[in-house]
Symmetry: C2
Subunit: 311 residues, 2 copies
């Protein structure tokens, strides 16, 4: 299947939103931006780095790419509306894999209320997917990384550590438990929770892609604050405990440092009632003499995925 046939096959069955005036197949798409602003973000996923085409099928890879990218839009407090996708792939890539990726992208977009409105395909020695997502703030101000204030409460919603556990399992050559392996293959970011958090007064927000401590580090840096997390407040799913014990790992490391689940972590004013599904895990404090920090139970975390690792 040549480049043009592939594009035609992909474009053919892309359901579109009613407010999109030009969908796929032209030089560019024209989509609605009803409040006069548009939120935009891009994520690039590379075979062997962000996914492995021998560990997941095309549909899973496509879903993952779409969901990871849409999580960035959710983290601003916006709803994803449109995706534009570029895929480069070796000439030897099975057509089924490419069509599967397109299907996964399409379905994940539609389930989130969005649509794939355009794309580009090209040859490359490395299978690479770039997903740009547009989003709608529906009149609300964006929730930035820089708004956390001393006294704020830190809360999280979504899975923590599942994908990291799944990756460890796959790396050891195992394929189960399915719940964890599938969590690595296809994340379940709580996309609509970002809008609810914004409406509930979230002062800052980020989606966890580098790891909880690392991403809280981005908030601490941008807001000029220090953040302390309470270990006891973090849910460690029993499945994680079980697998960690079998593999000789510490499940808390997956929770604190694992990326790829794309939960949302946000700060809320002290005393605010958190929206459903959000769990308080820590507090925001004044930055000390050594600048913004992220601590766990008052101490720097020394693990490999700790925040210092990313500075």
């Amino acid at each position: 299947m040549g480049e043009f046939e592939l594009i035609a096959a992909i474009n053919q069955d892309q359901p579109q939103r009613e407010d999109t005036s030009v969908g796929p197949g032209d030089d560019a798409a024209v989509v609605a931006a009803p409040d006069g602003r548009v939120v935009v973000s891009v994520d690039m996923l590379v075979d062997g780095v962000h996914f492995r085409s021998d560990w997941a099928n095309g549909e899973q890879i496509g879903r993952r790419a779409a969901l990871a990218a849409m999580a960035d839009i959710a983290a601003m407090g916006a709803a994803p509306t449109s995706l534009v996708v570029a895929v480069s792939a070796p000439g030897t890539t099975p057509t089924d894999l490419l069509l599967g990726i397109a299907k996964g992208l399409r379905e994940a977009a539609v389930e989130a209320g969005a649509a794939v409105v355009g794309g580009d395909t090209t040859r490359s020695e490395t299978l690479t997917i770039s997903v740009t997502v547009l989003g709608d703030l529906r009149g609300a101000p964006p929730v930035r990384r820089s708004g956390a204030r001393p006294g704020d409460e830190v809360a999280v919603t979504g899975r923590l550590g599942w994908a990291a556990a799944g990756l460890t399992i796959l790396s050891r050559g195992f394929r189960s438990p399915a719940a964890l392996v599938n969590a690595y293959r296809v994340p379940e970011p709580p996309l609509s929770a970002g809008i609810t958090a914004a409406a509930s007064g979230a002062t800052s927000m980020i989606d966890v892609s580098d790891g909880l401590l690392a991403d809280l580090g981005h908030i601490a840096e941008a807001s000029g604050v220090s953040i302390n997390i309470r270990r006891a407040a973090l849910d460690v799913n029993p499945r994680l405990v079980e697998v960690a014990s079998a593999l000789g790992k510490d499940p808390m490391e997956w929770v604190l440092s694992g990326g790829d689940d794309h939960p949302l972590v946000a700060t809320f004013p002290h005393g605010a009632s958190l929206p459903p599904g959000w769990q308080p895990i820590g507090t925001v404090g004044v930055a000390g003499d050594d600048g913004p920090t992220v601590t766990v139970d008052g101490s720097r975390h020394e693990g490999p995925g700790g925040w210092d690792h990313f500075r």
Copy 2:
């Protein structure tokens, strides 16, 4: 330089438009979409396919990526406003090359009245650049590929065949004439001509990236018409004639089939006065029994880059 330092270095000196409320450095950017719609398109460029890092420096590669992507927005009759860029690169890529690419992207964007508002960087075995451009139609309807009507005039603005000549020169191991080699390294798409064409009533438009005949084929297909080009109406720059003669090539092949210059080709109602810089090159007719076609002086073009090659 690690991923985070690189992003910081790139983000630091990105000039922003006044109407951009959130620029680089957050989960997503928030940009203005003043007329309630946004035009969006993505282009992916791969080392060894769309450019060669041994044939151009980083700044040239970045400029090329930005200009090629912005040409798609111009071809809708819109003005580019914002770029989001994803770059994946091998760990051995010189930092200077990456910073050069960022500089080229930034400068080309700013010169076109746009700005780089966000991005992603990641590891890969293949240097890959994806550029998504947002554009503003300023209240005008988009100019699509599907609007050409029998009787319309076909016109072009911008260079044809220069980049193809430059590529041939570089492929043969030469480095001059500089004007042609540089045309391949950095195209000069007539970005503002798209808006003028739209205002002058252009019925369809496309930017030439696959070759004049191939891209007119996209218009013919989408509009359900046939298009005939007059060879004598096509300017062949004397530099092309000279180099073609030295290399034993036919310069008209470069003009008809060369991509990468990103001129704009559009159709206008018969008798409309063309905007400055647009040159009439052919006419639109009714599609025959064998469907939409593109002909040159009434005949199918048999060259390797002819339209049939792309069907």
